[in-house]
Each structure stands twice: as C-alpha cells, then as structure tokens.
C-alpha cells in the first residue's frame, strides 16, 4: 500500500512488519516518533509485542539482549547521546551474537548541543561488531529494516544491525513509501528460531568467563560472521527484489560510475542530492559518478577496490570526523584502494556536521575540486567544507 510517511514512521512500519516481539526503547529527539508509533501499534493490538518503556538507552539495549537471548525478536531505536550511552552494551550484543535490529537516527554529539544530522554518533560505533546500513530514503529505511532481520538471523551471521537514518532530513520528512502487505513480509521473513536460547529446565549459562587461551577463538568466529554478512546482504537483497520488486544497491550503490573518471563516495541522504548533481555535471560533459556507501559495516572493500582501480580521482565526503586522523569513510576507502595497481588521487571533504546543509552548489564545488586535483595531485588530503573563517568559498 502506498503511503506518505516520515523516515521514523517507515522505521516503525518496518519493525511492525518484521513482527518484532519485544521492543524496549527510551525517547530521544529525533527518534521519538518511532517509539510513539510502535507504542500505538502495540496498544491497539496491531503488533503483538511487549513494549518495555525502559529508563535509559543503556537499559533499552540490555533489555533487548536479555529478551533476544530468551528467543524473542527484538527492536529498539535511538540517536546520538542515546547511542553512545549504549556503547558498552552494543559490544555485548555483538559478542553475544544476537541479531538485534536497531534504528539510529544519526544526530550530532554535544557539546555543543545539536539535534541535527551528523554521522559522528554512528561512526563512533564502527568497532562494536554491528552491521551498519546508511539509508538515503524513507523507502530504504523500511525495506532495510526488514532485510536486516533476515540477514542477521541467518545461521552464518547472527550479528546485530543498525539502520541509520539522517536526523530530520529523513526522520521528519515525509516521502511516498510503499508499505508491503504483512503476508508478503511473512513469506520473506520467517519467525526467529535460534539454536541456542535460554530455556526453562536447560541449565546453560550465557556469556561466561573465558581465559586468554580461548577468548580469541570467539572473536575469530564473529569476524567470519561479519565476512559472511557481506555475501548474505547481497543474496537477501536479491530475494527481496524478487518478492517486493525493489533493491537499494547492495553494499555500495554505484550511480553512473561505469565510465566515470572521478567519483564522489558518501553515505546517507546527501547521496540523493549528489545524484542530481552528477546528472547536471554529466549533462555538461563531466565524467563523474557517485558511489554511495550503503553498508559501512561490513565495509565494501572489494567493491571500492575494483571501482578505485578504474578512476582518476575519488572524493570522499564524511559527515563526521575522527579527531587526530581523518574522516572514517575516507580512511577506509583509502585503505581499500591501497592494494590497487594504479591508485586514484583521493581527498577527504568534511561537511555537514551538526546539520549544516550540504547544498547542490557545495557538491558541485567538491566535484570541481576533485577533478582539478586528480590531474595535479592533492596538496591537502583533508579539507573542511564551508567553515566560516576559512578562505575557501563554497556557495
């Protein structure tokens, strides 16, 4: 059924269609309408689930972990400070190999206080062992929520996933969304049925103490699972396309990259703007393309490497920054391209922090810049875009 809805409602519908059984969540701007909608679904009986109104985000994740270990499919949602508060237990969820699905409405960290879009909260979780999907549209948010359960619950994966939607730009902006029928989703996503779970009468301890001579083996298994997730994401998406008629580009969505000389690599809603800019520049004869990182974890190393080997220049736009280093996406793109025979010139553009608008004009300037330095080589590998006080004009 075609509806017009915000990214937050798309998340809520995704969780409802996926038949989440236990939802434990705590409110934080701009995630609130997700849990409000889900509370409504549970209260009216539209969704047969238990809603646990926990007293903090840390408890939200801890409750999901316990419920999932007892065999229930769980869901939660958060943003920014809520996500970072959960950090300890995010690590627990992946170490415990629990396929929890969570929406993170990516929002800037304080201080200064900001409720607007920025990816630092999400990027800061890249070491937690969670799958991370950055969405560019509300449709993708709904679809990826459903797909994530299927990917994560596969026997070879059993890792949690976060679906990342940009604060306000997706969370609070309405777009047309095709909401699939429950029956169709049921045919695609079976009930959650883990091999090992807490069961009355079975004396098992989950999460015990392990000596140094055995700890690494557990982490190794998790690494293999994250590797398996790469192929599983692609396969599940093909299945999804077969059932629902839609796909969203795998781990790295490539737009007009086939004969491109320079490509902008980025993630989130700005990628949608960038596609329009690519079209405009292409009309002017520039051989540019866009590669959207849809899955940041597992990182699409192979896809980036194969793309990079054909390019003159890559501009990586990070909507976050790793202080003391560079943008995280830039660092990983560069690492993937390192083993190419012929490496493109690469530059990192830090833009859009704290909700600063990334306009088509700014993106045009980035494309201009990367094309210039692709010919002459980069002087400055990392450039902060549109900072008041810096000499460069971006508008």
């Amino acid at each position: 059924m075609r509806m017009v809805m915000t990214g937050n409602y798309a998340s809520a519908y995704g969780a409802k269609l996926a038949r989440a059984e236990v939802i434990a969540a705590y409110p934080i701007t701009p995630q609130t309408s997700i849990v409000e909608k889900l509370a409504e679904f549970v209260a009216t009986g539209e969704l047969k689930a238990k809603f646990v109104p926990v007293e903090s985000e840390h408890s939200a994740m801890a409750a999901c972990i316990a419920a999932q270990t007892a065999g229930a499919r769980t869901y939660t949602a958060t943003s920014s400070h809520g996500l970072t508060l959960m950090h300890e237990v995010l690590m627990w969820a992946s170490g415990a190999r629990l396929p929890i699905v969570m929406t993170n409405v990516s929002r800037a960290m304080a201080p200064p206080w900001s409720v607007w879009v920025d990816h630092m909260d999400s990027i800061a979780q890249r070491d937690t062992g969670w799958l991370q999907f950055f969405c560019q549209s509300n449709q993708e948010v709904l679809d990826t929520t459903i797909m994530a359960y299927k990917v994560c619950e596969s026997a070879g994966v059993m890792l949690p996933a976060m679906i990342i939607e940009d604060a306000f730009i997706l969370s609070h902006t309405s777009e047309p969304v095709d909401v699939p029928e429950q029956q169709l989703v049921d045919s695609f996503l079976p009930a959650y049925s883990p091999d090992l779970k807490i069961e009355v009468g079975k004396a098992r301890g989950f999460g015990s103490l392990v000596k140094p001579d055995q700890y690494m083996e557990f982490r190794y298994k998790a690494m293999l699972a994250m590797k398996e997730a790469h192929d599983r994401i692609l396969r599940v998406e093909q299945e999804f396309k077969h059932v629902f008629g839609r796909e969203h580009g795998g781990l790295l969505e490539r737009y007009r990259c086939e004969d491109a000389e320079t490509v902008l690599v980025t993630a989130g809603s700005v990628a949608a703007t960038a596609k329009d800019v690519v079209d405009a520049l292409r009309a002017n004869g520039q051989r540019v393309g866009l590669a959207r990182i849809r899955a940041f974890r597992p990182f699409p190393h192979d896809e980036i490497r194969s793309l990079a080997s054909k390019l003159e220049g890559i501009a990586v736009l990070d909507r976050s920054y790793t202080f003391g280093a560079a943008g995280a996406m830039f660092t990983e793109v560069k690492a993937s391209a390192y083993s190419c025979q012929r490496r493109p010139v690469m530059k990192n553009y830090i833009a859009g922090l704290g909700g600063r608008d990334i306009t088509p004009k700014i993106l045009e300037r980035i494309f201009e810049d990367i094309q210039v330095i692709a010919k002459r080589g980069a002087e400055d590998e990392v450039e902060w875009v549109d900072v008041v006080g810096l000499p460069r004009r971006w508008h």
């Binding site: 059984e21 236990v22 434990a24 047969k48 689930a49 238990k50 646990v52 109104p53 926990v54 007293e55 903090s56 840390h58 408890s59 939200a60 801890a62 409750a63 999901c64 972990i65 316990a66 419920a67 999932q68 270990t69 007892a70 065999g71 229930a72 769980t74 300890e88 237990v89 627990w92 807490i198 069961e199 009355v200 009468g201 079975k202 004396a203 098992r204 301890g205 989950f206 999460g207 015990s208 103490l209 392990v210 000596k211 055995q214």
Partner: protein, 297 residues
C-alpha cells in the same frame, strides 16, 4: 532425627569457585531451594559472575544469563517480556546482583524495573563492598568499615564515614508488593520468605546479608555466626514489607553491637566513642523500624 528443616533438593553443584566460607554461596543455595527448577537467573558483573567457574563450567542447575554490571533491572524486564510474548508461564525470573551492582551502578535499572512492576524477584546479596574487584567501598558499606578505598591510618583516620544506603526504604518508596531481608544464619526464615515472594506477582525484592571472609577480615568458619550476630545485634534486622506494611520477623535479642564488631577485622580500628556512636545508630534504626511496624506503614 535426620530430618532436614529446609528442602533437601539442591540446585547448585559443588565446585563453585567462591572463597571458603563465602556467604554468597549460601545465599544462592537457599534462594534456589525456595524457588525450584522453573527459575531463570540474570547475574551482572560481581563475585557470582565468576563463581560458576570458567567456561564451560556452571555451578547452577538452572539457566543463567550473564550481563553487564548495571543492567540487572533491565535484563529481568527483557527476560520477562520475552517469556510473556512467547507464552511461557510459571517461570520465576530472578535478578541476582551484589550491593554495588544494586545500590550504586545498578540503582537506575533497579528503580526502572520496580516502577514498571516487572514480574520478577530481585535479590541483592550484600557483602557490603565491591568484593569481586578487591574490597572497594560501595554505597552499601556500613559506617566505620575499612575497605581498600576507605583505608584506615594516617592523620585523617580513614574508614567509611557515610552511612549505608537503605535499599529496603528505597524499595518501599517504589510501592512494590513485597520486600524482605534475609540472613544465611536463618535458612528456614530465608526460604519461607523466598517461597512467599515466589507466590506473589509483580516486583519483589530480597536483601540478603552475605558475609565475606576476605572483605570483612573474618575467619571463614564464622560466616554463619556473623550472619547470626548481625541479626541479633539488630545491625541487620529481619523483616518484611508487604503491601507497604513493615513486619519484623525476628524480634532480635539486642546483643551489644561490639559482639558483632569484635570478630571482624574491618572494624578493629574503631575507638570506643566511635563504637558508641555506631551503637546509637543501630538503636535509633531499630526504634524507627518498630515505629514503622506499629504505625502500619
């Protein structure tokens, strides 16, 4: 003769790696004798997270969920929600945490679980410090006690100068249906209270005194005697709070406090005036408890 005064079935195996004379071993043993097999327990970081042994050793005969330190209240809420949604009935969900994991870092989650009226029993085994990490003071360490972070000696004459958090009063303020204090020196009373808690729906709280030989600087053979003295000197009265009403379950003799203090190395540094002050504190608390009981609150 030969007849036991508590249920015979055991739900713990030998081979737990608790210290010799560990009060917490007794607490778990009596708790499970009262609850039986249809029980699931959630244990955060604490001595009991280590006592079942290294993987794959498990000294419990029931399912056990290990969790992060502060998460017990949240974990039992999650467990109960999953059991409910799956239609699994007639199971007791238990959170079993130390004092630090309850009154300090775990207080928020405990309060949340109680406010949400989570159908579970929360047991705080109270060894009165962060024992698993090496005897550091917690909010439950009594006034006057030595710990590694309230050391004695030097010009400041250390030891803990703050009074013990009254977790039973905190639980009473949450208006839960049942709360009780128990001591491993009185297993019949302990198990009776556990059985009563089991029969009540909603959020139930049990505060169990748990003597700790290394932490309290006591002879391991005296752990039960000390748990008895705590009750009989009125330092740790045995009472219930049912539907908000206090009921003392053992009218303690009121032995002089010094009987309790003198067998514990952690109190050896106290001077006579300090002991008198402590005695006064114990007497005042006892009077308050009697008043609560008689006034029906």
């Amino acid at each position: 003769m030969g007849k036991t005064t508590i249920p015979e079935a055991e739900f713990t195996y030998p081979g737990s790696t608790g210290c010799p004379g560990c009060g917490a071993n007794l607490v778990m043993r009596y708790l499970l004798k009262g609850l039986g097999e249809r029980t699931i327990v959630s244990i955060p970081a604490c001595c009991w997270a280590v006592m079942p042994g290294y993987w794959p050793s498990n000294c419990l005969k029931i399912p056990l969920l290990y969790t992060a330190f502060e998460a017990t209240g949240a974990a039992i809420s999650g467990l109960r929600a999953a059991l409910d949604v799956k239609g699994v009935n007639d199971v007791t969900v238990v959170g079993f945490a130390g004092d630090g994991g309850t009154v300090d870092i775990g207080l928020q989650a405990l309060s949340g679980a109680a406010e949400r009226r989570t159908d579970a029993i929360y047991v705080m085994y109270d060894n009165e410090a962060y024992m698993n990490t090496g005897i550091q003071r917690s909010g439950s360490t009594p006034w006057g006690a030595w710990t590694t972070t309230t050391p004695v000696g030097g010009s400041s004459h250390g030891f803990k100068h703050e009074t013990k958090k009254d977790i039973m009063a905190i639980m009473q303020a949450h208006r839960i249906p049942y709360a009780a204090t128990v001591s491993p020196a009185f297993p019949e009373d302990f198990i009776k209270k556990v059985e009563k808690a089991k029969s009540i729906k909603g959020f139930r709280f049990i505060h169990a005194l748990s003597p700790c030989p290394p932490g309290w600087r006591t002879n391991p053979s005296l752990s039960v005697e000390i748990a008895r003295l705590a009750v009989d000197t009125r330092v740790f009265p045995l009472y219930e709070i049912e539907d908000g009403k206090v009921r003392i379950t053992r009218k303690a003799k009121g032995l002089p406090l010094v009987e309790y203090l003198k067998v514990q190395g952690r109190f050896q540094h106290l001077t006579e005036p300090e002991i008198s002050e402590m005695q006064k504190g114990v007497d005042d608390s006892w009077i308050m408890l009697l008043l609560k009981e008689s006034s029906g609150t």
